[in-house]
């Protein structure tokens, strides 16, 4: 029974995509109902797998058409769900479920929604399939579906400025990534004569031939493109900004995470390349550069969603760096951060969508003072901003803490000064992230309301519910992370470090041992977290503070006065004795004191982000070549 769940979840999403196009292009109820049904079904089926996979440590396998391996050779396409797959699977289904709820409210002003939901469901099915599949060529197929659904969704609002351009960039760069994955897969097939990842892993454990090293480089570069690490990040900013926000949220929350999943699956399981310090260093450097470039470019943005897109890039840098450490602590931190990024970045995109939905713009220079009109969105946004900046009590803090610990421990144990630099970078990037979100807070939600936004209202409940769910999860994952790590992170990290089980389940017991893959279980990672008992203390102090406030509030002399309907002069803002006037301290250039000192850096990097597809293509190709060459020279 259980083993049918993964494939059913994926198939029903695809099936719903076709049904929506056939029956739902005219009828709103059928369309929304089918979409919600399919995504809810996928979510429930994935969550049902938690018990066997995460708690009991089973691996669920399923051979399409019952094409089981014949005399040790895998012929058919197999689905294989281990804890790592399931971890990402839960993220995928949860993200798409929330996005489909949000879409009901958010997309109701658009036309041709049948196409939208078809593409949306295709995208969700392909990402889920990518995560669940055990066959490397099937993975490539899913990447292709994912890329083209994404391209079409990016251009969905093709009457808005820049949508087609963004889609074109996405198409070109995305195709290069897909092609290099395909080339890598072809080379691997020529070497190993199989496409099953479990079997590939056991064959490759005998040692990498030069060809398979090149294949490895191409596949890593390909998944690098899919996860938008610098310098492959170029289409992301345009695409996230141009796509409808419900889709931007999915792009940032899950589609680039699919690339990260592919990277972990390849590096840790198929190639088991983490023993090579050259692979670790290469990924660590790419990760550090990614987080730094992403955040510095985000600081100069004038557009809400573009800014969030650059932060997505930056946060993926954290994940890649953490994963590159090769230690249990690093991997756990990386997975946790990937999950947290899905939550808080999804939340932030939804807030941006809410602003766009009500005001019609996301330009930071044309907004301001919305907190009076959209108080609930403001609170959700502040939670998301706190989480992405890594402030405690939110989830971003817990995962970043683990990542810093991981990198610095690596620096101390390896004695490599590079990791010290990366630690410093990670910590500084976190402050810059904070600065960037202060900018958004000031520019969009605080400050003074513009006249044209006087009749703005809070968004409808169907849009608020996903925001509240994500905000709540941000706080919950930040406070009960011992539970999160016990049931989600440790199983996933252990699954990535213990390859034997994965191979045995797919190819038959004893297969891994015969191929020389160590089946010994790496000890479950244990390390002392920052003690959650402290939250008890926190609540104690909150209580204390609340008591103080209540006491002060009842005190006749020290009471809190708020402006009524007709404000008196004492509630007006201070203007040096002048009359009050419109004066919003704009968001887009808030930190000129910082930028002035960095103008050389910004000059270079603004020129590099030229917006010309040829440039971007050349970065992609050059970086792919560098990855392949570095690995070819140093890995053997």
């Amino acid at each position: 029974m259980m083993q049918h769940f993964p494939v059913l979840a994926v198939m029903l999403l695809f099936l719903a995509a076709f049904l929506v196009e056939i029956f739902g292009s005219k009828n709103k109820v059928i369309r929304n109902g089918l979409t919600l049904l399919a995504t809810t079904n996928a979510l429930v089926m994935t969550l049902a797998l938690i018990k066997p996979v995460m708690m009991n440590g089973e691996v669920i396998s399923y051979w399409m058409g019952n094409w089981a391996p014949v005399s040790g050779y895998a012929i058919g396409i197999g689905y294989e769900v281990d804890a790592l797959s399931l971890f990402f699977g839960i993220l995928v289904t949860a993200t798409f479920w929330l996005s489909s709820i949000y879409s009901i409210g958010y997309m109701n002003k658009d036309h041709h929604l049948g196409h939208y939901y078809t593409l949306f469901l295709m995208l969700s099915g392909s990402v889920l399939g990518l995560v669940f599949t055990g066959d490397i060529f099937n993975m490539f197929v899913m990447i292709e579906i994912m890329t083209f659904a994404s391209v079409a969704l990016t251009a969905f609002r093709n009457d808005s400025e820049g949508a087609l351009e963004a889609a074109f960039k996405y198409l070109v760069i995305g195709s290069i990534g897909s092609s290099s994955v395909l080339a890598g897969v072809a080379m691997l097939y020529s070497q190993c004569h199989t496409l099953n990842m479990a079997q590939l892993s056991s064959i490759l454990s005998g040692g990498l031939t030069p060809t398979s090293v090149v294949a490895f480089g191409l596949i890593v570069a390909g998944f690098g493109v899919k996860s938008y690490i610098v310098p492959f990040h170029t289409p992301a900013a345009d695409a996230y900004a141009a796509a409808p926000t419900s889709v931007s949220m999915v792009f940032s929350g899950m589609v680039n995470k699919a690339g990260v999943y592919g990277m972990i699956r390849m590096v840790y399981i198929v190639f088991r390349a983490m023993d090579h310090s050259s692979v670790q260093m290469l990924l660590a450097v790419f990760g550090a550069v990614t987080m730094f470039v992403g955040v510095t470019m985000a600081l100069t943005q004038h557009e809400f969603k573009r800014l969030l897109a650059f932060h997505s890039i930056s946060q993926i840098g954290y994940v890649i760096t953490a994963v590159s450490l090769g230690s249990a602590l690093g991997l756990t931190g990386g997975l946790f951060h990937a999950m947290n990024h899905t939550l808080f970045k999804g939340l932030l995109f939804l807030c941006a969508g809410a602003v766009l939905y009500r005001t019609g713009t996301t330009n930071l220079d044309k907004l301001g003072g919305l907190s009076k009109k959209m108080p609930q969105t403001t609170i959700c946004f502040l939670i998301g901003a706190g989480a992405i900046s890594g402030l405690p009590p939110f989830n971003g803090f817990a995962s970043k803490w683990m990542i810093y610990q991981g990198i610095f421990t690596k620096a101390l144990t390896s004695g490599n000064f590079l990791y010290v630099i990366i630690t410093v970078t990670a910590l500084i990037v976190s402050v810059m992230t904070l600065a960037s979100f202060i900018k958004v807070t000031q520019a969009v939600f605080f400050g003074q309301l513009r006249e044209e936004h006087n009749d703005v209202k809070e968004v409808p409940a169907v849009m608020l519910i996903p925001m509240y769910i994500m905000a709540a999860l941000c706080v919950i994952c930040g406070t009960i992370y011992p539970l999160v790590s016990k049931y989600l992170l440790f199983p996933a990290a252990n699954a990535s470090l213990n390859v034997g089980d994965y191979i045995d389940k797919m190819m038959g017991a004893g297969y891994a041992e015969a191929a020389g893959v160590p089946t010994m279980l790496v000890e479950p990672v244990t390390f002392s977290f920052w003690n959650p008992v402290l939250w008890l203390i926190l609540f104690g102090i909150v209580f204390f503070a609340a008591v103080i406030v209540i006491l002060l509030g009842t005190n006749e002399r020290g009471k809190i006065l708020t402006a009524g309907e007709k404000p008196e002069a004492k509630y007006a803002t201070f203007f040096s004795g002048e009359e009050e006037m419109f004066s919003q301290v704009g968001g887009s250039d808030l930190f000129w004191g910082f930028k002035k000192n960095w103008k050389g850096y910004y000059k270079v990097f603004t020129e590099l982000h030229s917006g010309i597809v040829t440039d971007y293509t050349s970065y992609t190709v050059i970086a792919t070549a560098i990855i392949v060459m570095c690995l070819f020279i140093f890995m053997r």
Binding site: T378, L382, P392, F397, A435, W530, N531, L536, F594
Partner: protein, 316 residues
């Protein structure tokens, strides 16, 4: 019983009450000494306490443009986070929570203190506050780099690889090997941290964010009454925390055995550090511009901290 002990630690010692009292005391000393340096008599040392209690009894006006929840919540959030920070700083032999004290946690909770000021100021809707928060944030970005470098060099010097950032380990190391200030490779880092303290507590010449004479206290401009009092208290608490952090990072190792004696010596050392890095610098300098401040921290101070880190990394 356990919970009661927690509450005592959080609310009284070394948490909220202790930090607040010591902070206000340090602020009083600062004002008194600087007055003497400028040939004035100055207020009594108790003056910051009087100010605080007076503000607590005044009415708090929420401006019409402000978001009430954030405007009033920000000072409280700052107060909570700063009260928590002190729990992580060992007072010589005494630590409130063994095994959990951690440099990164301190760094982030200190950040919350700054963020509370920024978000509160931002929510007031005043353009002066807008400029103030911009400067406050840039100041934060400025001192964060050298601060991180200092923390890393201390962590490397003490050098446990399992819990790299443990405060307890730093305290134990100094108890065994003497204060870190007296190992010469750490001296540049100590100087760097001394230069970071005035920026963190917003004292001249690094008080660009609150520059009273140009932007009328920036983020605090619309605050009044109890909320303003809380922010003033937060600044004083930061003074206690930062000097305390310096004390336990670089001047640790004194262990009398009784908590009360430890605490008294701790406060005395904090007062000396305050005089050195806050009062003296305040008395002899004028306010910088924000871009100069940024440059100063990213070149001079970071250079000092980096020198220390490299020396320590080479095993000196």
């Amino acid at each position: 019983m356990q919970i009661l002990l927690f509450l005592v630690k959080v609310l009284i010692f070394p948490g909220a009450l202790f930090t607040a009292c010591v902070g206000l005391f340090l602020a009083g000393i600062d004002r008194k000494v600087i007055a003497h340096m400028q040939k004035r008599i100055g207020p009594p040392i108790r003056q910051p306490m009087y100010d605080f209690f007076k503000l607590m009894g005044k009415e708090t006006i929420v401006p019409a443009r402000a978001n009430k929840l954030v405007f009033l919540g920000a000072p409280i959030a700052g107060f909570i986070s700063l009260a928590i920070v002190m729990l992580f700083i060992p007072i010589f032999g005494f630590t409130a929570f063994s095994g959990t004290a951690d440099l990164i946690v301190i760094l982030y909770f200190l950040t919350i203190g700054g963020v509370a000021l920024i978000v509160g100021g931002s929510s007031s809707g005043s353009p002066y506050a807008g400029i103030g928060i911009s400067r406050e944030m840039v100041t934060m970005m400025s001192y964060e780099l050298p601060f991180v470098l200092v923390l890393l060099s201390v962590a490397r010097k003490v050098g446990g690889s399992t819990l790299a950032f443990s405060m307890n380990q730093i305290a134990d190391y100094q108890a065994a090997n003497g204060s870190l200030l007296f190992s010469w490779s750490m001296i540049p880092a100590a100087i760097a941290l001394l230069l970071i303290i005035p920026a963190e507590v917003g004292m001249q010449p690094f008080d660009v964010a609150e520059a009273e004479t140009e932007i009328c206290e920036g983020p605090l401009i619309e605050y009044s009454g109890a909320a303003l009092g809380m922010f003033k208290l937060n600044t004083a608490m930061k003074m206690c925390i930062m000097t305390g952090l310096f004390t336990s990072l670089f001047l640790g190792g004194i262990r009398t055995g009784t908590v009360v004696c430890d605490a008294i010596i701790f406060v005395a050392v904090c007062a000396v550090v305050t005089l050195v890095c806050i009062t003296t610098i305040h008395a002899v300098t004028a306010r910088l511009k924000i871009e100069h401040l940024f440059k100063f921290y990213w070149t001079v101070v970071s250079g000092l901290a980096l020198a220390s880190l490299i020396l320590v990394w080479m095993g000196l």
